[in-house]
């Protein structure tokens, strides 16, 4: 925990509150990470603002309260912790300002702790955020923070993926071009991209392998912009959650 000094030196629009050893940690300047951090803070009931009782209106000093800066946000970059200043808030009396300041500083401490917790334990990050990280890494738009969490994103993605049950194959599985290879890779890495083939009753399979499963399809655009499908079988629980997949195959026209 850093020694955070209220009313520290102001640099640009930031108040420098403290510093620690240099490292290249995830940056809250990264908007996606900032949103994720704010989401976790909200879930934990921590507000992201504090108040710096500066420049009270009136004749000077802290007497009379009045207008003060609302300090929001948090940055930890290169060991420097700083806070954005944004907006103004009527502070009331000096004692009210002090109370607000203390409340805010308590939250700052929680924010700082959470940040450090996330950096050391990325399992706290949501699936949604890590999915975004993975997408940005794959499409080449990853930020430094995304790269920091790329490994976690990759391992999280692998954790949740259903693997084919391996009960058998009833069609062509070998891709004949790069479009097919990419499409098969996509649907294997996320079978929920597929949709159930409507109007077909649950499968009645003579072999009994996929009895009660549903036939699924996944659309992809192939050579010449033409659309193609991959079919596979999926089993769902009562709530409609996919629990098993199998028999992925290209459908040839």
């Amino acid at each position: 925990m850093l020694d955070i000094l209220p009313g520290g030196p102001i640099k640009g629009n930031k108040v420098i509150l403290g510093s620690e050893g240099c490292r290249t940690p995830p940056s809250v300047k990264d908007l996606n990470f900032k949103k994720e951090l704010a989401k976790i803070l909200k879930e934990r009931g921590i507000t992201t603002g504090t108040v710096r009782p500066t420049q009270p209106t009136g004749s000077g000093g802290n007497e009379g309260g009045g207008l003060g800066k609302l300090v929001k946000g948090f940055i930890k970059r290169g060991g420097i912790v700083s806070f954005f200043l944004s907006g103004f808030e009527l502070g009331g009396s000096e004692i009210e300002w002090i109370n607000k300041q203390n409340e805010g500083l308590a939250d700052v401490g929680k924010i700082q702790d959470l940040y450090e917790e996330i950096v050391s334990d990325p399992s706290l990050l949501s699936d949604e955020y890590l999915k975004g990280v993975r997408e940005r890494v794959l499409n080449g738009s990853a930020s430094e923070t995304d790269k920091y969490y790329a490994e976690e994103a990759s391992s999280r993605a692998a954790e949740g993926v259903l693997r084919p049950s391996g009960l058998g194959s009833t069609g062509r599985q070998i891709a004949v071009n790069e479009f097919e290879a990419k499409a098969m890779q996509e649907v294997l890495s996320n079978p929920t991209l597929g949709s159930p083939i409507k109007k077909l009753s649950p499968m009645v399979d003579k072999s009994g392998k996929w009895d009660g499963w549903s036939k699924m399809y996944y659309n992809y655009v192939g050579e010449g912009g033409k659309k193609f499908q991959i079919h596979f079988n999926a089993a769902f629980d009562d709530a409609g959650k996919m629990i098993k997949v199998d028999d992925f195959k290209f459908k040839d026209h």
Partner: protein
Amino acid sequence: MKIKCLANKAGIAFKETKLPFGTSNDSVYGVDIGVIYTVVGMHLLKGELSCFIFNGSYPEICPIQLFEVVDDKISKNWHFKQYSIDDSQHTEFVWGYYEFCFDDSHYEKIVNYDNEALALFLNKLKEMEAE
């Protein structure tokens, strides 16, 4: 009946409502946003209403929530059938050309790219487009 595609991802089409059974937010359909499709049949099961269309490459049954209706006249050649689903209390309702409603194997053949079934489907589509 003609419908215009507004979304082709379940997560967008069903943003604030329950997803169809077996569908996830990631599910993608083979229809293109802005394209108008002729509906050759409709299907209703467990409160999920779907439209049977040709997406330019193959026939597909998609949830109505992906579309807006731009021509509400239905074909004079449509039929209607009500099915009881075995071993459940659900009933399935089907509207569309005769074979889609009454030939139990027709749609399955289409799904499996049976040439005869596909030819029949394309013929019915052509008729309805010409109406």
